[in-house]
């Protein structure tokens, strides 16, 4: 099958998706080894969504992300070494060790942060987009959220704000079918993109396992927003191969079947795209292996960087609470 995208873009999509996949696999191992505290929500299986959408963005465009945000950060240009340093709690991390997995942000890359609260980033994307609209600089904000967020009130408030003010926002719903363990069909009569009609906003669904389809849909929505056409709701039908979070592997849950997981893995976006690059004659097997090898190297270097990085100083624990501090504010817990 032919590839309809320019060569550098097509190659970049593969590299990004592969980097996300391998990053997440290594992260899970580091969680198991207790090098990463708490849990991480892996993006494994959904790579085509982040890669496809962010490939349609400029560096000065903005995204808001979710608790499952590593993929979005990498796709928007985040560097894996600063991400891993953050996950390991080091001062060299993106958030200087203050955020961890669910909060990675790089404002200079337009990454307004992953977020631990479902749906919370959507109104922030509207606020950023309002600024872009006032400035007339044709920047766009993308709000990523999952199917779980479509029953969260603040998302609907944000959809409405974007619609009534014609804001340059693209709402990207990653429908992976489950809000933790609750199936979407049990909590919604409609498919996510059908909700958009209630706000007078175009809503469409694409195959989230096809990175080209995601890219083309996102690029059209982004361009529409850039030209002043207002917001679009893009639902990407996708799947997470792994649990809601790293700890789920040990829980023996049965909310979905092995057959279902296997069927989605059959349609793996990364393998499919690698095959298509070869079938289209853009790459041969060696090119693919070289791309994979480069990803391994980048991740190995990132882990080494994170491990070698210093921890934050205890005395700095109250830093960044305020731009301007006052005597005794913020207060320590003991004097």
């Amino acid at each position: 099958m032919a590839v309809g995208l320019p060569r550098t873009l097509a190659e970049g999509l593969y590299r990004r998706m592969r980097l996300i996949r391998r990053f997440e696999e290594e992260v899970a191992a580091l969680v198991d080894a207790n090098e990463i505290a708490g849990v991480c929500h892996e993006y494994v299986g959904q790579e085509a969504v982040a890669a496809g959408v962010c490939a349609a963005l400029r560096v000065d465009d903005v995204i808001t992300s979710t608790h499952r945000g590593h993929g979005h950060v990498i796709a928007k240009g985040g560097e894996v070494r600063y991400m891993l340093a953050e996950l390991l709690g080091r001062v060299t991390g993106y958030n200087r060790g203050r955020g961890g997995s669910m909060h990675i942000a790089d404002i200079s890359l337009g990454i307004f942060g992953a977020n631990g609260i479902v749906g919370a980033g959507a109104p922030m994307a509207c606020g950023a987009a309002y600024r872009f609209k006032l400035a007339g600089d044709r920047r766009v904000a993308v709000s990523f959220f999952g199917d779980g967020a479509v029953n969260q009130g603040v998302l609907h408030e944000a959809l409405n704000l974007a619609a009534i003010w014609d804001l340059p926002v693209v709402f990207v719903c990653e429908n992976n079918l489950y809000a933790i363990t609750t199936a979407l069909r049990a909590v919604s009569k409609l498919e996510p993109h059908q909700r958009a009609a209630a706000y007078g906003m175009p809503g469409l669904a694409v195959d989230g396992m096809d990175v080209e389809a995601v890219y083309l849909a996102a690029a059209a929505a982004v361009e529409r927003a850039r030209q002043g056409g207002g917001p679009t709701f893009v639902e990407c039908k996708t799947y997470r191969y792994v649990g809601h979070y790293t700890a789920e592997r040990f829980m023996k849950l049965s909310y979905r079947s092995e057959d279902e997981i296997a069927a989605w893995r059959q349609r793996d976006a990364i393998e499919t795209w690698g095959r298509r690059l070869i079938e289209a004659g853009l790459w041969n097997g060696e090119d693919l292996a070289a791309a994979d090898q480069a990803v391994e190297q980048e991740i190995a270097q990132a882990i080494a960087f994170a491990r070698a990085s210093p921890w934050p100083e205890s005395a700095s624990a109250l830093d960044y609470m305020y731009s301007r501090t006052y005597a005794g504010t913020p207060a320590w817990g003991a004097e």
């Binding site: 942000a105 922030m124 994307a125 600024r131 408030e157 731009s323």
Partner: protein, 325 residues
């Protein structure tokens, strides 16, 4: 000097600051129509792009302001009634208050939240009559609660110019008050309390509209020869701890007069601060006169029983004075 009403003083701060800095926008419900007066004329002066009427979507417009601030604007977010902040609690407490630290200092959030008609104005029952500042203080917001028109303007200017989220409470019962207000823009600094009346027998720490009530009680007790020192923190966070302790030392006897709930209310924080920092100078246990720990009842006699009253304050002053320390 000319006198302005509290709402006019707020309006002048909005006007002057928005004229000074084009990055300031004001967002909220019914802002353009200026129903009470504090936002009147903003639409005409600054246009619909900067003076924004929102749908009734408190969580949505608070998050909107956070994103706008992250992208470079300086939003003012107005809540038409103070207790509407509860609708937006995640976006306030879990997002705006936390993101500067959680993002490792990558963003500043210069957002001013103005909470109008805070507290009870009578007859609006339990959902429109709170002073929600203890929740917001607990979340780490800088909070100001000006008691006069002069301080309303100066603290609003300071709040708008601060590069952090600041909550400004406009107490319902002072909004019609008139007082002298300088014409130019000026700052009343955050974190600095003020002695409203010098006295020698008992110190009253009063917040918001209760400052005026405390002064009236002080006048009354002066006729009996009781000299009351009235201190207004003005900013609840950052708290002027030195000013508070100085006010307490002045008399050694303290009554805290505060219209938030008793349990974990602002008076509890003042009391604990005094216990830690001024214990040796106290000649009597600190007394609190606060709102009772229930939703404000509707019926007038019940409401009167629940909110802190001048009678309760006078009794508390006499009680700490009677304590032999």
């Amino acid at each position: 000097m000319r006198a302005l009403r509290y709402l006019q003083a707020m309006n002048e701060a909005y006007q002057q600051e928005m004229a000074r800095d084009p990055a300031i926008i004001i967002v909220g419900e019914d802002i353009r129509s200026g129903i009470r007066g504090e936002t009147r004329g903003l639409l005409e002066a600054f246009g619909p792009e900067r003076v924004i009427d929102t749908p009734i979507s408190e969580a949505g417009f608070v998050g909107f302001a956070t994103g706008a601030a992250m992208a470079g604007l300086r939003p003012i977010v107005q809540f038409q009634v103070a207790s509407l902040v509860y609708v937006a609690f995640d976006q306030l407490v879990n997002q705006a208050a936390k993101l500067p630290l959680m993002l490792g200092g990558q963003v500043r959030l210069p957002i001013t939240y103005t909470l109008m008609v805070a507290g009870s104005r009578g007859g609006l029952a339990g959902q429109h009559s709170d002073n929600p500042y203890p929740y917001l203080l607990h979340a780490g917001f800088k909070v100001v609660c000006p008691s006069t028109p002069r301080e309303a303007k100066g603290l609003l200017v300071s709040a708008i110019r601060e590069d952090d989220p600041v909550v400004f409470l406009a107490p319902a019962l002072v909004l019609a008050q008139r007082g002298e207000v300088p014409e130019e823009a000026y700052e009343v600094p955050l974190g600095v309390g003020e002695v409203k009346r010098a006295g020698t027998d008992v110190t009253v720490v009063a917040v918001g509209h209760l400052v005026g009530e405390a002064l009236a009680v002080a006048d009354e007790l002066a006729r009996e020869g009781i000299s009351v020192h009235v201190w207004d923190p003005r900013t609840l966070l950052p708290l002027d701890r030195d000013g508070l302790c100085a006010a307490a030392r002045r008399t050694g006897r303290v009554v805290i007069y505060d219209d938030s709930n008793r349990t974990c209310g602002f008076a509890a924080e003042i009391s604990a601060t005094l216990a830690e920092r001024a214990f040796a100078d106290l000649r009597a246990p600190v007394k609190r006169v606060t709102r009772a720990d229930v939703p404000l009842p509707y019926s007038a006699p019940l409401e009167k029983a629940v909110v802190p009253s001048p009678d309760q304050l006078a009794r508390a002053i006499r009680a700490v004075l009677a304590h032999s320390g």
